[in-house]
């Protein structure tokens, strides 16, 4: 036994109350972890954005298109390793009208060159390149829509009206998290040749890989300069910045989540504060005995804060123990498989777990500061209630 273990032993003093507090805080920790994971899952595209890719879009708006010939200019810009392009197709599967997934018309060879984290078997790659109606489908989307290689799938175009028939040429996975695994990619030529002539040879955006990620900013500026004298100017930015601009559209949601997280922390503080205040009040006489035996006010404060820290740590660990299986094997997996286009990665980050544990510990201690100060300031005789 030592002074620290003495503080920790007090956690088990009132087991029923302690259990309820620990459970209550643990549930709050689960809620906190869930909310933070929502935020981190939104940030994953930013966090894991490729450092060597830049996006080039119409200077006015993302929804306005660029001439196809701009791709050649981008490829000739110093510092650019390779470039590709894509058009947002906005296709829907009439069999699964509620499912949202990205459908994009791309140039297969250059797209796979720029997005080298896409893992596709040589046979699937060859099949896709060879078939103008071929589509490469992310494995999560394939699972969701029950698609297999060789299947024929008809999508209804929203931006490009009509029924579009595709053949599933291959299924891809990814080697990094920078690429969504629920996309439907098909030949840009197929789209371009099928639409009215006035809409042809337009691309939604251009993606370039640069030779040196450190020079990405300079290369972006160089690309934009090259188009300054053209009718249509461009806005180039790193993939990370581009993803951030998407996230900016959801800033209200993120702010709301942060507010709710703050409320949960406040609940945590009150739960701890209530338990510690009751415990300290009930044990005032014991603190008097300890003081009589020669323990100092700092010891009493230390016992109370130590007990609160142990309580906070226990609740935090329990909360994480509940959160992990729930998120990693339950909710997270379900979201990734069923809503992969919106939530491609929903797992508890180490930083989130550390934050939850840290807050649990810190708030436990913070809630005990006032009870600890009050207890340590009592005179021995007051604590013993022995004024005769």
């Amino acid at each position: 036994m030592n002074l620290v273990s003495l503080a920790v032993r007090n956690v088990g003093r009132n087991r029923f109350r302690t259990s309820l507090t620990v459970l209550g805080v643990a549930v709050a920790v689960v809620a906190f972890v869930l909310l933070r994971t929502v935020i981190s899952s939104m940030e994953v595209a930013v966090t894991h954005a490729a450092h060597d890719r830049i996006g080039i879009r119409h200077k006015v708006s993302f929804i306005m298109q660029l001439p196809r010939r701009y791709v050649d200019t981008v490829r000739q810009t110093p510092g650019v390793h390779s470039a590709t392009w894509a058009n947002w197709f906005g296709g829907k599967d009439p069999r699964n009208p509620r499912e949202f997934f990205p459908t994009m018309a791309v140039d297969p060879p250059s797209f796979l060159d720029v997005y080298d984290e896409i893992a596709v078997s040589p046979a699937d790659r060859e099949r896709w390149f060879a078939d103008r109606q071929g589509a490469l489908v992310g494995d999560q989307l394939a699972r969701l829509l029950h698609l297999r290689v060789g299947d024929t799938v008809t999508l209804a175009g929203t931006i490009y009206p009509g029924n579009w028939v595709f053949h599933v040429s291959g299924i891809y996975t990814t080697t990094r998290r920078s690429m969504d695994r629920s996309e439907f990619l098909f030949h840009w030529d197929y789209l371009n040749n099928a639409i009215p002539e006035r809409r042809r040879d337009q691309v939604g955006w251009i993606i370039a890989r640069v030779d040196n990620p450190r020079q990405a900013t300079g290369v972006s500026a160089g690309i934009d300069r090259a188009f300054d004298v053209q009718d249509i100017q461009t806005l180039s930015m790193s993939e990370r910045s581009m993803n951030l601009s998407f996230m900016g559209m959801m800033s209200g949601v993120l702010a709301a989540i942060n507010v709710i997280s703050g409320i949960i922390l406040l609940i945590l503080l009150m739960l701890f504060g209530n338990t510690m205040s009751m415990g300290v009040r009930e044990r005032t006489q014991e603190y008097g005995v300890l003081r009589a035996l020669g323990f100092l006010p700092k010891h009493i404060a230390g016992f109370i804060l130590g007990e609160a820290a142990a309580l906070g740590l226990t609740a935090g660990v329990l909360g994480l123990a509940l959160s992990y299986p729930f998120v990693q094997y339950g909710l997270g997996r379900w979201l990734e498989e069923n809503m992969g286009s919106m939530v491609p990665y929903f797992r508890i980050e180490v930083a989130t777990a550390a934050l939850a544990l840290g807050f649990s510990l810190l708030l436990g201690v913070a809630a005990a500061v006032i009870p600890a100060l009050r207890a340590s300031r009592l005179t021995v005789t007051d604590a013993l209630r022995r004024i005769d």
């Binding site: 036994m1 030592n2 002074l3 003495l6 032993r9 007090n10 088990g12 003093r13 006489q285 014991e286 005995v289 300890l290 003081r291 009589a292 035996l293 020669g294 323990f295 100092l296 006010p297 005179t379 021995v380 005789t381 013993l384 022995r386 004024i387 005769d388």
Partner: protein
Amino acid sequence: MVQLTNVVKTFQRGAEVITVLDGLNVTIAEGSFEALMGPSGSGKSTLLNLVAGLDRATSGVVNVAGQDLTTMTDGDLAAFRARYIGFIFQSYNLMPVLTALENVELPLLLTKIPSADRKKRAATALRVVGLEDRANHYPRMLSGGQEQRVAIARAIVNDPKIIVADEPTGDLDRKSADQILALLEKLNKDFKKTIVMVTHDPEAASHARVTHHLNKGAFQ
């Protein structure tokens, strides 16, 4: 050993000043066993608190074991209590989360004695009070008399010069009370401990060598 000279103790309750001890003089010799008796509010527990260094006199001099308690800081008083005083309370006041052995070991946590030696000393103290076979029992597993004996072991584990006991038999039946009083006598006679005991019980006081009767803050 204990010398109180012209000690006054007052308490402020709102605007009212209550004088609990009024110019008290008392001397308790080393190795003595003295009882303090008196009605509630007579000042006996206040006197005990002053002797034990739990409280401070409003005026006068409190000298215990050669130390002038009236000039000590709070920290010095705590160190004084840890070194010179053993406490026995009416309601035992054991820590429910600690075993009997750990309760006895508690005062030794303030010393630099190694853990193994602390345990040995605590076990020895438990043997003195006849509870070595209850070392790993928690207070809830012990009878009132046994709890008080554990409290006595805790009071002597530091080998203090003085033991102050506040109604040590107040919560006990006659048989257990007699055992506790016999134990206190043993500590006084065999271990030469100076004992100052507050009691309402004349039977308990009869075990002491000297009995002081307090009334309204003065000896009768």
